[in-house]
């Protein structure tokens, strides 16, 4: 550990990210907070004012219900992603080098797909005209082709699909560093590979599982195209309503209020999960 005093150079280097953060995050966020109190001009734009109309409207049943739904589906997407990505990444890191790298490249290449492409691709795949069910019909498993979208499962699937590579990326470094001898030690003490996975690999990885879960949660909470493309209106997330209000209804104050509400809610969820995780870790 060095106890040197930071030099002017250190401050100069730090000034770059700090400036970026202020200019591109804090200032726009401030503008958004301010505009949430502005007065909306019907059919026009908005004028600076201080009124609570937008905030009041937020606390109506329909928007509370949307917010709960948004958080619920994002939590569910986080759980599904971890349930699939954790064993996937664990076995990936135990593979031989060649298939290991190949699979990693395939997963990472999914990152290059935009949400729009993913949304419409799943919409085709889950549709009736050219979807997966046609293959099942051809195989004789089903009698006639049917559509799986729009629907709740389709939205969840789409969200998980876009979040999966990020989830793998979060889990990968820690799982690839997991000492092989630790799992071997469990096996020499009588634990089957399955018990070893549950009693050693998962508990050791708990902090990174929580991190991956929160990443997927926050990431999918901000997604609006997937639920707009693959869902019915009752599957629309708060993000869809925000973009709807901002772009089509030109109601910027209300959109801003909803956006702030969503940010605070997601911060609250992240905070609660983090606190609970560190509490229980100290207890065991």
């Amino acid at each position: 550990m060095s106890d040197r005093k930071p030099t002017h150079g250190t401050y100069a280097v730090l000034a770059v990210p700090v400036t970026m953060l202020v200019v591109f995050f804090l200032v726009p966020f401030g503008i958004m907070v301010a505009s949430s109190f502005y007065h909306r001009v019907e059919g026009g734009f908005y004028t600076p004012a201080f009124e609570l109309n937008s905030w009041r409207r937020l606390f109506t049943e329909v928007f509370i219900e949307r917010a709960v739904f948004s958080i619920g589906i994002s939590l569910l997407a986080g759980a599904v992603c971890i349930a699939v990505a954790f064993p996937f990444t664990f076995f990936l890191t135990r593979m031989k080098r060649r298939p290991h790298v190949a699979l990693l490249v395939v997963v990472m290449s999914a990152l290059s797909l935009s949400e729009v492409i993913v949304g419409f691709t799943w919409s085709v795949l889950l549709g009736r005209a050219a979807g997966i069910s046609n293959i099942l019909v051809w195989l004789g498993v089903m009698d006639e082709a049917r559509a799986y979208q729009p629907g709740f499962v389709a939205v969840l699937l789409g969200l998980c699909y876009i979040a999966f590579p990020y989830c793998v990326l979060t889990l990968y470094p820690s799982l690839s560093r997991l000492d092989r001898e630790v799992t071997e030690a469990a096996q020499t003490m009588g634990a089957s590979p399955w018990r070893t996975f549950w009693t050693v690999v998962v508990p050791i990885s708990r902090p990174i599982i929580v991190a991956g879960f929160l990443l997927v949660f926050v990431f999918t909470l901000g997604s609006y195209l997937i639920s707009a493309i693959l869902g019915r209106p009752e599957h629309w997330t708060l993000s869809v309503f925000i973009s709807d209000q901002a772009s089509f209804n030109a109601n910027v104050p209300f959109a801003a209020a909803m956006a702030i509400f969503l940010t605070v809610l997601s911060l609250a969820v992240v905070g609660v999960v983090t606190v609970v995780e560190s509490r229980t870790r100290r207890l065991t």
Binding site: D179, E184, A186, Q187, G190, I204, T284
Partner: protein
């Protein structure tokens, strides 16, 4: 107790791609003893241990434990306890969680686990640390936890993979003695992998010297030191003078223009005979008087380490001859002195190349 843990390895081979890590090992190891696999890194000793543990599947050959073929059994049903090189303690569990892990897996009652953990902690002199986290322990304490954990289920085989390599020299020597006393008290069949010949000599009943995937020699520790079978063993265990002589038949060899008596040198066709003489067995004589079984040379370097003095003599051989002894019986020589180095016949061992 003494009858548990007899191990037989039959024609064991392990290949990783083109690399032959273990190239055919046949061993019969007695129960209740501590056996060391000793060799340089990459000699296949760890791979051999891992095949015994079931962590590595042999390419060919069988492993028998107490007469039963366990080759196809996974590690969790082999009834073994193992201490790993990295110790591999579970960071998410306390000391008692680590030691009690195997019992918990077997569904032993909580109270019984607690009792046994206390007993094991006492055995390794770690009373009062049950609730500590592994990260709060010193290196030596971690080693003891790993030992207690491996012995918790009273396994048939106790396997140690370079168990003390992470510790500093003093602590290592102390734990060598402790581990050996513990093993003797429990009478548990133990196999230890090490590259440290002092460790092997300190702890073992039997030493298996390995090189390039093969067993070079199996013997009692002192026997391996005193009567090395090959040039590799002679060099790897302790230091030695390896003399390249030519066989003259009838227990005699020629070294430069001298005739030396070497028991067991039966080659008479003038072919190469390798003779190993330990530095502490060679003797130094000042001057050029008639000394049997000796060759002349010039002293090039002398050092006195307090516990031992060493003298390097140029005898016009490929390497300098080293003579060592107690400083109290030091022959008064200095650099440049003409001396004769005597190789007493009973100290000369013929070794294979």
């Amino acid at each position: 107790m003494q009858e548990r843990g007899g191990l037989r390895l039959q024609e064991l081979v392990k290949r990783f791609g083109d690399l032959e890590a273990v190239a055919g090992v046949d061993l019969e190891l007695p129960p209740g003893r501590l056996i060391s696999f000793l060799g340089p890194s990459g000699c296949g000793k760890t791979t051999l241990l891992r095949m015994i543990a079931g962590l590595e599947q042999p390419t060919a050959g069988r492993v028998f434990l107490d007469g039963e073929d366990v080759t196809d059994r996974p590690p969790h049903s082999r009834d073994i306890g193992m201490v790993f090189q990295t110790l591999a303690l579970f960071p998410h569990l306390s000391v008692s969680g680590n030691i009690g892990y195997g019992m918990k897996i077997r569904g032993v009652a909580q109270a019984e686990i607690r009792r046994r953990v206390d007993e094991l902690l006492k055995m390794v002199s770690l009373e009062g640390t049950a609730d500590r986290r592994v990260s709060q322990l010193s290196g030596g304490q971690r080693q003891r936890v790993a030992t207690a954990r491996a012995l918790a289920l009273e396994p048939r085989l106790f396997l140690l993979d370079e168990p003390l390599s992470a510790l500093d020299a003093n602590l290592r020597e102390q734990l060598q003695v402790e581990l050996r006393l513990l093993q003797q008290k429990l009478g548990i069949t133990t196999i230890m992998v090490t590259h440290d010949q002092r460790e092997a000599m300190t702890m073992s009943d039997l030493v298996v010297v390995m090189q390039a995937g093969r067993v070079e020699q199996v013997g009692l520790p002192l026997e391996v030191y005193r009567r090395p079978a090959t040039a590799f063993v002679a060099r790897f265990i302790g230091s030695t003078n390896l003399l390249e002589t030519t066989g003259a038949g009838d227990g005699r060899v020629r070294l430069r223009d001298r005739d030396l008596a070497v028991p067991g040198a039966d080659r008479s066709d003038g072919g190469l005979v390798l003779v190993s003489v330990r530095p502490e067995d060679a003797r130094l004589h000042v001057g050029l008087g008639a000394v049997p079984n000796a060759i002349p040379g010039t002293v090039v370097f002398v050092r006195d380490l307090g516990e031992l003095f060493e003298c390097y003599v140029d005898c016009e051989l490929r390497e300098h001859v080293v003579v060592a002894g107690s400083p109290r019986e030091r022959v008064p020589v200095d650099q440049g002195d003409a001396v004769q180095v005597e190789f007493p016949p009973d100290a000369c061992v013929v070794v294979r190349a």
